[in-house]
């Protein structure tokens, strides 16, 4: 489990979800869900609406705590850690509906994310302004690099709230990049994004996985995107892992079809 000695080998388990359970009142949203995400992969997480995909993301990233089960990241138990501590472990997420900070500029949305900013301690602003200023310059440089990468540089000083839906999705991805993450959970990165932007998004994700070794786990309903981008694909249904396999295996599995069509398909056939 050493990450310090160069690049870790692919195939090693990075994120491990073990037997998670979460109830909302009488509804069991996550029902003994177990799966692993390996290093070096872009893993797709699909399933019909209400399968518990977003709830699972919320549990992994510390927004809600599970009723039972454990989440391990790089071998550490991160169950029930607060969200900002999980962020410190270089595990980031985006939201299904982008949650930018609307009354801040695009670049400050990015600069905010940088970790270990000394200027975030109030006394440093008063007592060590030079130090804070130098660090701000560094952070700004990095933010501009990220903006160049996601091709939003022309909107640098625009309010984030004024961006289009697709641009906000790109900004969400950009914010995770500012964190220099090891793993990113993307919640429907392609929803509401037009074809051109989508191509850019797919290109970006592939590039980041290949060149920077960032591991992705993404929820997506657009099957084209999933089939093109993801391997393996995990299928969830009713809070459980239904199956896991290559895109082709998933496509040809009858259980998956049943899950999506709610059993009517099976009934019609039988």
């Amino acid at each position: 489990m050493t990450t310090s000695q160069g690049r870790p080998r692919a195939g090693e388990t990075l994120l491990s979800v073990q037997d998670l359970v979460k109830n909302f009142g009488g509804l069991r949203a996550i029902d003994h869900c177990t799966f692993d995400v390996q290093r070096g992969t872009i893993t797709g997480l699909i399933g019909p609406n209400g399968a518990g995909k977003t709830t699972l993301f919320n549990i992994i990233t510390g927004f809600i705590s599970p009723d039972a089960g454990r989440v391990r990241f790089k071998g550490d138990d991160i169950t029930n850690l607060p969200a900002h501590r999980i962020f410190d472990k270089k595990l980031c997420r985006t939201f299904q509906i982008p949650r930018e900070h609307p009354s801040m500029t695009v670049i400050e949305n990015l600069m905010l994310v940088a970790s270990e900013q000394s200027g975030e301690r109030i006394w440093n602003a008063w007592l060590r302004p030079g130090h804070v200023r130098r660090q701000e310059d560094e952070t700004r440089k990095r933010a501009i690099e990220v903006l160049d990468f996601i091709e939003l540089d022309h909107l640098r000083d625009e309010y984030a709230g004024k961006l289009s839906g697709g641009q906000k999705k790109l900004l969400e991805l950009g914010r995770t990049l500012m964190a220099e993450p090891e793993m990113v959970l993307l919640d429907e990165p392609g929803a509401g994004v037009n074809r051109t932007l989508m191509k850019r998004l797919v290109g970006n994700i592939e590039y980041l996985c290949r060149e920077r070794g960032i591991i992705f786990l993404l929820i997506e309903h657009d099957m084209d995107l999933v089939m093109r981008l993801c391997d393996p694909v995990i299928v969830m249904s009713e809070g459980r892992k239904l199956m896991q396999g290559t895109p082709d295996e998933v496509r040809s599995d009858k259980r998956v079809l049943d899950a999506y069509l709610g059993g009517q398909y099976a009934a019609a056939e039988g």
Binding site: P82, F87, D88, E108, G119, I122, A125, R140
Partner: protein
């Protein structure tokens, strides 16, 4: 020229100088002398034009407006930058005022002890008193924050207004603490002896103060208030326009997202609440030393909470300059309506015999209409929040900084 007027002008020049240093759009090398000369000339003109009574009124008006400006800066840190809907300003104002009073007065002895009870009295200097006011108020805010900041918006407002009332009732009923329902008297005014017997002032200062009377003390206190207001403004502005303030705005905008970006939102919410409350406590301390005699009734929600809210809404939530501007304007409106209701009293008497006695409420009506107008027609306030939060950037620095940077970059590309 009248010597007293010259002396008064010297004191009046101090706030004008501070204002000039902030507003004159020149390089510092020019700005300082221009502001200095301008302040003295303006002070001389004002003190010569206005009759003595009006001049004193202007000074006492500015002192109260300055104290309110400090309260508004405190609220701005909480509401403007972090979105805490704090309706308990009166509570922190009271804590600050009573803390500074207790720290700077002497515990009564002998016969006096029968009339005045107080928990302690350290006879500490003024500066220690107001520092203690800020610290104790901040500490009280910290204790309150732990349970109360789990609430958001309306629920936080309800909880904080309740806490402010509890604090006021404690000061009203606990006689041992700060003389209970009776007023706490004799809060010392800093350096008062300069005006009582100018001989206690060193050398040239004595000749300056010679023509002034004890009641002219307010001219000096105006300087104290404005210097502390300027200092508070500098500290709060530096903090809120830094990466720290950026996190606050992020928390205000979208809390969960800020958490997901690695910010400990509970900690930041508490920090801003405590800093805001400490500033309010400082305002309370300044008020106590100005009023000399304070009691629980000074800290009612109308005068100590809601008027501060109107000030911030008018001036501009999220902008510290706006907060100060709003405080002065609303305090002007409030003081002005006193004359207004006085003028229309005969008319009111013709409508009904009862009305003149109730004319004081007309003032609140006017302030309320003003608030409604602000919210409807200019919700961002007179000076809107600025787009960029952090000013800790060399490149986007304002004015000369940017030009200098550009020159340096040019030189780099040229070489």
């Amino acid at each position: 020229m009248d010597q007293a007027l010259v002396a008064k002008s010297v004191f009046l020049a101090v706030p004008l100088l501070l204002l000039g240093l902030k507003l004159v759009p020149l390089r510092w090398a020019l700005r300082i002398p221009v502001a200095l000369v301008g302040a003295f000339v303006l002070a001389l003109i004002i003190s010569n034009l206005l009759p003595s009574g009006k001049l004193s009124y202007l000074v006492s008006f500015s002192i109260m407006a300055g104290i309110y400006a400090i309260l508004t800066l405190g609220l701005n840190t909480q509401w403007g930058f972090t979105g805490h809907l704090n309706f308990g300003i009166a509570g922190f104002f009271a804590v600050g005022a009573f803390t500074s009073a207790l720290f700077t007065t002497a515990a009564p002895t002998g016969v006096m002890a029968q009339y005045t009870q107080q928990a302690f009295g350290f006879e500490a200097p003024f500066l220690i008193g107001i520092l203690a006011a800020a610290i104790v108020s901040g500490f009280v805010a910290f204790l309150i924050a732990i349970p109360v900041l789990r609430l958001r918006m309306d629920f936080l407002a309800i909880a904080t207004i309740g806490i402010a009332e509890i604090i006021r009732l404690i000061f009203q009923n606990e006689r041992w603490l700060a003389n209970g329902p009776q007023p706490l008297r004799g809060i010392p005014r800093p350096l008062h002896c300069l005006f009582d017997e100018p001989s206690c002032a060193p050398g040239p200062l004595a000749t300056l103060l010679q023509p002034l009377e004890p009641r002219d003390y307010i001219y000096f206190y105006l300087c104290v208030v404005t210097v502390l207001l300027a200092l508070t403004y500098l500290l709060v502005e530096t903090a809120t326009r830094s990466p720290w303030g950026r996190v606050l705005r992020a928390v205000r905008d979208e809390e969960q997202s800020a958490a997901m970006n690695g910010k400990n939102i509970t900690s930041f919410r508490i920090q801003s609440f405590v800093v805001g409350a400490a500033v309010m406590g400082l305002g309370g301390g300044l008020y106590a030393h100005y009023a000399v005699t304070i009691d629980y009734s000074h800290f009612n929600p109308l005068f100590a909470t809601f008027i501060v809210w109107v000030m911030l809404m008018l001036g501009g939530s999220g902008n510290n300059k706006g907060a100060i501007l709003g405080a002065f304007i609303i305090w002007g409106v409030w003081s002005g309506t006193a004359f207004l209701t006085g003028m229309i009293e005969p008319t009111l008497a013709q409508i009904s015999q009862d009305l003149p006695a109730r004319s004081a409420y007309l003032r609140w009506l006017l302030v309320a209409i003003l608030l409604a107008g602000i919210v409807l027609y200019r919700p961002q306030g007179l000076i809107a929040e600025e787009k960029v939060v952090s000013r800790f950037l060399a490149k986007t620095g304002i004015g000369r900084g940017r030009r200098k940077q550009a020159r340096e970059e040019e030189a780099e590309t040229a070489s």
